[in-house]
């Protein structure tokens, strides 16, 4: 059990002016981790990652060292590292500032990771909307090449590491690792059948690991400074620092870094407490696809295992906090619309179930809800969950099922009130003027 509470680990250069420049980066301890990696062996480095307890920071929390040990090394094919920088989960904004403020730490993490998994080629798949990220990364990669940190002879070691930056086309599904690989190969971004898994048949059919930006960056530190540096923070099963994105009804929403295991309530307090001193009602612990938790869960530690025990997930570290002024049903509807829109369309349950769920929510919020709609919503979600091709379908069901579990009375209120929210709540639905006219049958009346 390491220290808990706020820490400065991966965000150590966030306050450093021009840390994105290689000189400033090196002045602040940059490119030291990779020198340690060059003195190590791939097996030792993977062992260090395992010892550190690092779990994937992209949402699933799979142990990174274990994942790396699955990569097929004896196929005669190249091994690829693909960095998932397609950060798209609603509420999540941890990778973007990292890449904007401290891009070299990712580049360094990539070099270290490539040395560990014996890959000579890394791709960064950056979300299409990330303009500044892409400029900073391109600049950082160019600088690293100029210094000989990248290329055919990394730090004069005779080892090769190349990085290609690829910008996506703004599809949430491309954050799913196999859809990302298809997109990177120039295909339509849709998830692939597994098995075979990327560890054996990934990019261009070659052994591949797909890791989140924060994971790869952390791996650089772990190899450079030892597993102990990492697991001095956090708990035994949830080790290390975590970049947090705290948003919603708090006084100072933004980026924070905490040791895993810090209670949610402490995080909210660190973000200035509730906005206007409202009362905490519910929160998404790690992005919109993690089941909703309520005020009574506020003191549980922010760990993988505690979240699972509370029937939710740690996700990406995107803590979205809501007060009693906010309607759960409206909030869930927003995310349902998001997942409906972002469904790739490949499989039936996600495509049709999302389409249907959204319409039921619209009816309930428009006052056309029926008593049987709540069971219907649960039924639809249960027919999606575990049946869809990839986790996107499951993600849609999380807010629906968890809100029905914790706040069924609020749904029932809307059925009784013909869609009118309780007086103490403020609607957050933002209808366009046209939608408003249409919904109220005014468009044709010439109003």
């Amino acid at each position: 059990m390491g220290t808990l509470g706020p820490v400065t680990a991966l965000s150590t250069r966030y306050d450093v002016d021009r840390a994105w420049d290689i000189d400033v980066y090196e002045d602040h301890g940059g490119y030291q981790n990779v020198r340690a990696a060059l003195d190590s062996t791939p097996d030792d480095m993977i062992q260090m990652i395992k010892d550190s307890g690092l779990r994937g920071r992209g949402g699933a929390g799979f142990p990174t060292g274990l994942k790396w040990s699955f990569i097929a090394q004896d196929t005669g094919k190249p091994v690829y590292l693909v960095v998932n920088a397609d950060e798209s989960e609603p509420g999540t904004f941890k990778d973007r500032p990292l890449m904007e403020r401290d891009p070299h730490s990712l580049v360094e993490g990539i070099i270290v990771s490539c040395l560990a998994i014996q890959s000579e080629m890394a791709y960064i798949y950056a979300r299409g909307e990330f303009g500044l990220v892409s400029r900073r990364l391109r600049h950082a990669i160019e600088q690293a090449y100029e210094r000989g940190y990248l290329g055919a002879d990394v730090f004069g070691s005779g080892k090769r590491v190349d990085i290609t930056l690829h910008r996506g086309a703004a599809a949430y599904i491309c954050g799913e690792e196999t859809a990302l690989l298809d997109s990177l190969e120039g295909r339509r971004g849709q998830p692939r059948l597994r098995p075979p898994f990327p560890a054996t048949h990934g990019l261009y059919g070659c052994p591949t690991t797909v890791n989140n930006v924060e994971t790869v960056t952390a791996a650089g530190y772990i190899v450079g400074q030892g597993p102990e540096w990492f697991n001095q923070y956090g708990t035994e099963k949830s080790a290390g620092p975590k970049l947090m994105c705290i948003s919603g009804e708090v006084k100072r929403p933004g980026n924070y870094e905490f040791a895993l295991g810090t209670p949610v309530s402490e995080m909210i307090a660190a973000a200035g407490g509730m906005l206007d001193d409202r009362e905490l009602k519910f929160f998404f612990p790690g992005g919109s696809s993690t089941p909703i938790l309520t005020a009574e869960h506020a003191d549980i530690p922010y760990t993988f295992e505690a979240m699972t025990e509370a029937d939710s997930l740690l996700g990406t570290g995107a803590l979205m906090v809501h007060s009693d002024k906010t309607s759960v049903v409206e909030t869930v509807y927003r995310y349902v619309k998001f997942y409906e829109h972002e469904s790739c369309g490949k499989c039936t349950p996600c495509r049709e179930g999302g389409y249907w769920t959204a319409q039921v929510y619209e009816r309930i919020l428009d006052g056309r809800g029926r008593a049987e709609d709540l069971d219907l919503l649960a039924d639809i979600s249960n027919n999606i969950f575990g049946r869809s091709f990839c986790a996107l379908g499951d993600a849609l069901t999380s807010p629906v099922l968890s809100s029905l579990e914790h706040f069924r009375d609020e749904y029932e209120y809307l059925l009784r009130s013909a869609g009118r929210l309780p007086d103490h709540m403020q609607s957050v639905r933002t209808a366009t003027a046209n939608e408003y006219l249409e919904r109220n049958d005014l468009a044709t009346a010439g109003v």
């Binding site: 049709e352 249960n382 091709f389």
Partner: protein
């Protein structure tokens, strides 16, 4: 490691080969797990999620169509698992929320998997009270295929077929989420010879056929198993008719031949049965007035035939040209008719001029165990010689592509061009038109040499020879355009390799005609005219003391007819004017000789005939056909056909009777019994020896600026059997010329430019495709794709022609600009 796994499905134990998908394993137990996206010949996709089953010990329910059976698994389907059943019901409910309830007007109604499964597994009431997706309808994916997007369940069968099986681009899934839809690239058409298959495998009514749309209900149709006569592929088909008229044709599953596919020509090409040009009554030319023949009754026509064949009681010198389309039985009857009734061996089934050695090579082929589709798929290395499979025998192309995709088979083409196969080729051994045999002999020599001796062959030849030697049973496929000696050379090469050879003609029953001995020197059942014992066997079976003396081939027959030495040409479905290369020879023969012809549809030759006898088409009769593999398949009549038409064999029996003879049979069973008496003998003739080419090799490059014309028809052209099918015709590939980059460069032409090819007095202007697949020094010219009045286009295979660019802007097709290369 064992090769099988044993698992339990719904309490029943089953052992299946490793790698078997759960859905297939369940099928073996008789359990049909509902599915939409799954198709046995397409890669699994797991999109529809309909086939969910429960596997004990697995975290989530699994899709049976993507999951391989594993040893010891306990699998429960909808029959025994509530989880599986509710999951399947849930997916079906999802599929139906956006599916219109328009079954009463949908073509698929009555044969629709979605409808069937909704009835079997679905709820009777929908819980969906919201708005369905709406789309404009229908969208034309191609001239033949219409898409109603709101009916689509996005199973991706059509897009996977195009990607995985036919390899045709431009039909894909577009958009995402609930708006995902099948679409085509706006700037490019979905151009495919196999598009009809996507209609047939669509599990809902989203893809429908332009020609069948709103025509009939499946339960109103009478289905008859049939065999396509479009080419020598021998595809199984189902002919579906209503009120005596063919409404559609579907691919019939025959895993040994066409698997589950048909090409569009076979599927949609039945319009000629009811076309205006259909011959529905005998036509007779009144004596010597030079007018076209006019309708007559059968008595008049047959009397006229008798008076033509035997004006004074004695049969005048007559030749029988039988074409490559007669079914086996009719081919046999034609052979017996010629030799016993007409007393002539002047018989030829070919409509091209064949070198004298071809008869021996064909005889050697017929006696052998030749390659099959399965051999092609398993070969590992396949050599195609003078063959453009997609244009000539499309289903063979699909099998070659399957071998290329699934087993990484190395495909090698020998010849002037290989068409669309070029994209799949491993190596290319280009030759001048008709010069394939020399390369095949080089390959055989390279095999002999073991690479030790000073190797005179090119590195490419050595490489291909190595590849051929590296597999157990390579296959050599020889097209009918391949030049002098190619078939024999291919046969010798295959024998040396322990591999297999096959001859791939275009016409549907050319192989059957060969087996029935419809060429001078050949006799039924692999017998040879020059073998005294075999000849005597045939003579005895036919009640003759001696067979007629050995006859002549097509070229000689036409020459003699032109000189008046052969008085009558008896044609059986042969269009001499269109099919035979030498128009002057044909004109002369047709002017001088009296012509009797059997045919289905009026054509350029029927206009010259003295008597035209209308016959039934394939769909209107029973018979047997032999495909390029040598596989015999029977077919039955799907429709009756016009009232007054008769089968070829029926007419020949009647003509025989009028001439005072008796063939010994009056029905199909009788013919088959007669054929059985001359069953194939056990013989494996040697391949003809290689010709000495030492003095001809240098002569080929004569240094002038002419090219050799590589002429053959595309799959869809102006053929008379493709009339009255406008949607099919609309999908024909645009006629084009093809040139090698080395020949295009001096002319300054590039892809898409107009080019004029001139041979003798004929010329033709078409856009050109510049491709390394076309051997340098040759130019591909499509036969029979341009306006029908241009019959004297340079269609002669192997002719020397000149090619010139058309100057941009000013020139018209009539004013080619000469460019000296």
């Amino acid at each position: 490691m064992t090769d099988t796994v044993t698992l339990t499905i719904d309490g029943k134990e089953i052992t299946v080969p490793k790698g078997t998908l759960l859905i297939r394993a369940a099928e073996q137990l008789g359990t049909i797990i509902p599915r939409f996206c799954d198709h046995p010949l397409l890669d699994p996709v797991g999109a529809c999620r309909q086939c969910i089953v429960e596997v004990e010990g697995q975290r989530k329910p699994m899709t049976a169509c993507t999951t391989e059976a594993a040893d010891g698994w306990v699998v429960n389907t909808h029959l025994t698992s509530d989880v599986a059943r509710t999951a399947q019901e849930g997916q079906l409910e999802f599929l139906l929320i956006n599916h219109p309830l328009d079954c009463p007007m949908c073509d698929k109604g009555g044969e629709c998997p979605l409808q069937d499964q909704a009835m079997a597994h679905g709820n009777h009431h929908s819980r969906f009270v919201d708005e369905k997706r709406k789309y404009d309808k229908p969208v034309a994916v191609s001239a033949q295929v219409l898409l109603d997007r709101e009916r689509c369940v996005l199973c991706a069968r059509c897009t996977r077929f195009s990607d995985q099986v036919s390899g045709d681009p431009f039909i894909e899934l577009f958009e995402r989420g609930a708006l995902e839809q099948v679409a085509i690239y706006e700037d490019e058409p979905y151009e495919s010879y196999f598009s009809g298959n996507v209609i047939q495998i669509c599990p809902v009514g989203a893809l429908t056929s332009t020609s069948y749309r709103f025509k009939a209900r499946p339960f109103d149709l009478r289905s008859t198993p049939s065999v396509c006569d479009g080419c020598s592929a021998g595809c199984s088909q189902t002919v579906q008719a209503r009120r005596g008229q063919v409404e559609r044709q579907l691919a019939r599953t025959n895993m040994a031949v066409n698997e589950m596919w048909n090409c569009d020509k076979g599927r949609f090409g039945y319009g000629h049965l009811t076309a205006d040009t259909r011959l529905t009554s005998p036509l007779v030319r009144s004596d010597d007035d030079g007018e076209e023949p006019v309708a007559a009754d059968w008595a008049t026509a047959l009397t006229r035939v008798r008076s033509i064949l035997a004006p004074d009681g004695e049969v005048v010198p007559t030749a029988v040209l039988s074409g490559g389309r007669l079914p086996d039985e009719d081919a046999y009857v034609a052979g017996k008719f010629a030799r016993t009734v007409l007393g002539t061996d002047d018989v030829d089934f070919r409509t091209r001029f064949a070198p004298a050695s071809e008869g021996d090579a064909l005889a050697a082929l017929a006696g052998r165990d030749t390659a099959t589709y399965d051999d092609v798929e398993q070969a590992g290395v396949v050599l195609t010689v003078g063959l453009d499979p997609e244009e000539e025998v499309p289903i063979l192309y699909l099998r070659l592509r399957k071998a290329w995709r699934n087993t990484k088979a190395r495909l090698v083409s020998v010849g002037a061009s290989s068409g669309s196969l070029a994209e799949l080729l491993w190596r290319r051994l280009p030759t001048d038109v008709g010069a394939e045999a020399a390369v095949l002999d080089d390959l055989a020599r390279a095999l002999d040499r073991d690479g030790d001796d000073a190797d005179q062959s090119s590195p490419m030849v050595a490489e291909v020879a190595d590849a051929l030697g590296s597999v157990d049973r390579p296959v050599v496929l020889v097209g009918e355009r391949a030049g002098d000696g190619a078939l024999a050379a291919a046969g010798r090469l295959a024998d040396a390799l322990g591999g297999k050879v096959a001859w791939v003609p275009r016409r549907s029953n050319a192989r059957g005609a060969l087996d029935q001995g419809l060429a001078a020197g050949l006799l039924p059942g692999l017998r040879r005219h020059d073998d005294d014992t075999q000849r005597a066997e045939v003579a005895a079976a036919w009640g003759l003391d001696e067979l007629p003396t050995r006859g002549r081939d097509l070229h000689e027959i036409l020459t003699l007819a032109g000189k008046g030495k052969i008085k009558v040409l008896y044609l059986l479905g042969v269009d001499l004017v269109r099919d035979v290369a030498d128009q002057r020879l044909v004109d002369k023969a047709l002017r001088r000789a009296t012509v009797i012809t059997h045919d289905i549809v009026a054509n350029a030759t029927t206009a010259h005939a003295d008597v035209v006898l209308p016959v039934t088409a394939s769909q209107e009769r029973a018979g047997t056909r032999t495909n390029w593999e040598g596989r015999r398949q029977q077919f039955r009549p799907g429709v009756a056909g016009p009232q007054l038409v008769q089968h070829d064999w029926e007419i020949l029996v009647q003509v025989t009777g009028m001439l005072g003879h008796d063939l010994g049979f009056t029905d199909l069973d009788g013919i088959r019994a007669d054929m059985a008496a001359l069953a194939p003998i056990d013989t494996t003739p040697d391949w003809p020896a290689a010709a000495d080419r030492s003095d001809t090799a240098a002569a080929a490059d004569d240094g002038d600026d002419t090219l050799t014309a590589d002429v053959y028809p595309l799959l869809l052209d102006n053929g008379v059997h493709q009339v009255n099918a406008p949607d099919l015709a609309a999908t024909a590939h645009d006629p084009h010329l093809r040139l090698h980059p080395d020949d295009a460069a001096p002319l300054g032409v590039s892809d898409g430019d107009e080019v004029t090819v001139t041979g003798g007095k004929a010329e033709l202007t078409l856009p050109v495709r510049v491709t390394p697949d076309q051997a340098a020094g040759t130019v591909f010219v499509p036969a029979n794709s341009t306006a029908p009045d241009q019959v004297d286009n340079p269609r002669h295979l192997g002719d020397r022609v000149t090619v010139a660019a058309v100057a941009s802007g000013s020139a018209t097709a009539d004013q080619p600009v000469e460019v000296n290369a």
